[in-house]
Subunit: 303 residues, 4 copies
């Protein structure tokens, strides 16, 4: 079927390529002309801006917005809302906050427009391995778009599914990332303990290999760690500075709002925050120990 | 090759069957005569006790001890130590504490006996899917036993591997279980948050299905959850009382001893402990709130 | 000096009494006429509603709003904003979210009104022992009100202080409560461990007594626990169901927003949430253990 | 009464001085002759070694061992066990593991000797403010020593108390320190959050002052923080490297052994461990994010 694609970054370009290869017609735009040119070479129809893109699509139109979450996504949706007409569909495909999708759907609905929110996992591997897509919105609109989802994330491969009304797609993707934080931290801790056990000089690549088949902890993340450990196990040049992208903290806030205690997902987030801190809290502990017990504080010149 | 198997519980019986099917000769014993009979039906040679089992094996003997960890394993090894002769091998296959294996290896070594410690993951699924085996001890002894390991956990399937000197097999299995605790808790928290979101009435089986392929959190544990959710998602008759089997707390102790902070594995253990508590700590919080703020305490009769 | 007091609950009534005893003139109102009558008996001037209260005060007026946080406080402030005139002062004395005070101050400022936000600790003990007051707003307005604060929380007793611009009073009170959560949980855990040590049959009242003087953990909270333990140490009729009042979760959100990792305050909140949960997360853990390891799940009928 | 004091470090010397000032007769020894000379100047009787010290005491002797925990304490007790005679008393006053005291008491008991274990809080402030002493052992032996305890930690000041059989003194002191970890971390987190709130430029000394009287979080630790904040609030030259002395981790182990979930005391310990780590766990998280999402890893040269 026909689809407009706004945003040709890593994800948008990969998805466009996959769609074209499967016979869909994709009209694309991006702020960077070169990105449009590349997609056109692959078989896409180029459009220099949103207005042109909308004109090149037949009603009822479907436009996939795949630009960074937050202001870029919101302003793209706002502009599309003015260009599209009743019955058209906007697909919010970024890692947006699910509450934004609820508001967007409500506002677009007043104009007769439909919003579908898609949470996508699979990252840079999606082009090759297929994506995992959690989809929210009106059920019949999602059904209408199913040829697109079937191409990007074939259901036979358990790739896509409808999870609920507006926002549900981003909500489930948010939880997905919260779980991901917890799993990553669990693996990282376990391998760290092994690394710190000098008696055994454990080969972490070998342990990962053994665990890859038959063990309870086998997973795709473990497969990736195995590949990394095959190359290096010391990571001396890597700085232990870990970013978080939003979904983790949204999950923590959501859990507290819903009165669900989620210590592991929460600690995973706090640990990432800690990796970026300068340690004022620790300084205060040193100061207190010195105050009440006369314990020596380590000072800069001691290091 | 020839192997003695002591203990025909779920694991020992499955392993015996797998070995026989692959052409090995297995002499078995167990405290329950019926268990021996069953194995004999499958092609094993039965032995009524440890002394008989030892007599039926050719030197250098290899005896796999697959009885419950702790006292049963220790007393079996002690008895075997008196029956075996220099050059023979004992395989400690239970979920024992790795420090026990270090001591056992040292003591058996004085008599010329060898100890190999094997940590096995795969549980009840191992017969069908093959085990994941982490193996510690003297490298050449482990090499000698490789036909056995190849049958139980084919290396082509990434099934077994040598991880270090005595105790290393159980050490790595201990860490495996620590990671398992963290992963389980991460999934449980994530699904709990979704379950508590009434706006969406999310189908947890459908979410699991979508995540099974392409998502970052795909894993064998997730596959199992999918199967459970297909049957039920409320679990009204299940009590939220979660046991821990030892390896989790050993991992937590080890991390602290090695000065590795492992908050996620630790919180996973504490959460299990909490599931079994009667809540004295919480009562104290209620009492304190009442003392300083006049906040009403909920009493038994209020419930 | 002269002050209007809106809200004669536990806190408002106590403060009114303290102010009158120290020679201030207090005009009071409350939704419950009886509460007004009681205050009048103590020497206050009664007013049947906000409009009357405002009329009975001389410009520039100062009105202390001491009604429940949230909607009641907001609607009272909104109504007062219409009744007061430029130069008048509203004191927001409830446990409100500090961001509300920032918005309120901005909106009132457009009409020439001033907002002072006061976070008060001391609870039911304040009448007798004096309050601890953290005050935010315009410095000169706070200075103007200092006779009031001096009565309620004498500076000689380290009772009150100016902590910053609008919202700072409630912000510091919020953090105070976050710390309080952590301290309470630390004590509760420590006493719980002692309670669970059957070998020693430790008298928790005696331990509290010993710690009250000279120990590093001495505090007012400990004094309160001592008093509670003198009466009972089993609390068999108390349900371990612990509420949280808002400030704790706001502190957790704030820490994450500011990228400060605060595991202890966070865990204290999660533990309270856990005390009120039905245990779906734990059920999922039981189900998973059963799925991969064949571990028996405890069912309702087993209990 | 008469007492032998072994070990004239900070604590031992202070206690000796306090005892002499209150009229007790103290025979002292130490590995450093100068320390003995100092005590003799204060009025103590010097002894060049343990044998001499024992000779200078009248039966039934009471000898306070105030040397570092672990090997020094154990070897001193072993040597004293050979020098003393039935009916004599050894006081283990260090921060020893409570299980050691149980074993020591049992072994000394076979020779008719008595062990009393004393956990002491109050640190460097004890000489001036009096100690807080938790005492374990045989009740009648503790009663016999009460004049000593009355001097060091007057009961009128809630200073000392009997808490149970052998080991109970050190057990309660261990829990005391666990709680102390939690309280310190709670304060440190709260002040850190305030420090990171640039909008308010909060004066932490002023906040501490306000909280010192009337607030729920008032405590001796807060008094100490106030004094530290009066001098500095940035601590730029202090390294956030926080030691732990043993009791904290013993408390965590004990809680797990007793199946009491104590997340706050546990997290306080983990946070201290984290302050001393080099961040291998965080490096692994960075590597994983790079593997699955193509997220850029920060490298040494980027800093």
């Amino acid at each position: 079927m026909q689809l407009g694609m706004v945003g040709l970054g890593k994800m948008g370009a990969n998805m466009t390529q996959r769609l074209i290869e499967d016979g869909h017609e994709v009209v694309v735009t991006d702020l960077i002309p070169l990105a449009i040119e590349e997609a056109v070479k692959d078989g896409a129809t180029g459009a220099e801006d949103l207005a042109t893109l909308v004109k090149k699509l037949d009603a009822p139109r479907a436009v996939w917005v795949m630009v960074p979450a937050g202001v870029p996504t919101q302003s793209t949706i706002d502009e599309l809302a003015n260009l599209l007409e009743a019955g058209d569909i906007i697909i919010n495909g970024g890692n947006s906050y699910y509450k934004d999708a609820i508001i967007q759907a409500e506002q677009l609905g007043k104009k007769g427009l439909h919003l579908v929110d898609v949470g996508t996992s699979g990252g840079v591997w999606g082009l090759k391995e297929g994506y995992s897509m959690m989809i929210g919105g009106e059920k019949e609109i999602v059904d209408h778009l199913s040829p697109i989802f079937e191409t990007l994330a074939p259901a036979a491969d358990k790739g896509w599914g409808y999870v609920g009304s507006s926002g549900a797609g981003h909500f489930v993707k948010m939880i997905h990332n919260g779980i991901e934080y917890g799993m990553m931290q669990a693996y990282a801790e376990g391998f760290s303990i092994m690394k710190q056990k000098p008696e055994y000089d454990i080969d972490l690549a070998e342990v990962s290999r053994i665990w890859q088949d038959g063990s309870v902890v086998r997973s795709w993340l473990l497969d990736l760690m195995k590949e990394a450990f095959d190359v290096d196990q010391d990571f001396e040049d890597i700085v232990g500075y870990v970013n978080d992208s939003g979904e983790g903290r949204w999950t923590v806030f959501e859990a507290i709002d819903l009165n669900v205690s989620a210590p592991v997902i929460t600690e995973s987030l706090l640990r990432r925050i800690r990796s970026r801190e300068e340690g004022y809290t620790d300084k205060l502990l040193s100061v207190m120990r010195n105050q009440f017990g006369g314990h020596k504080m380590m000072k800069e010149e001691d290091e």
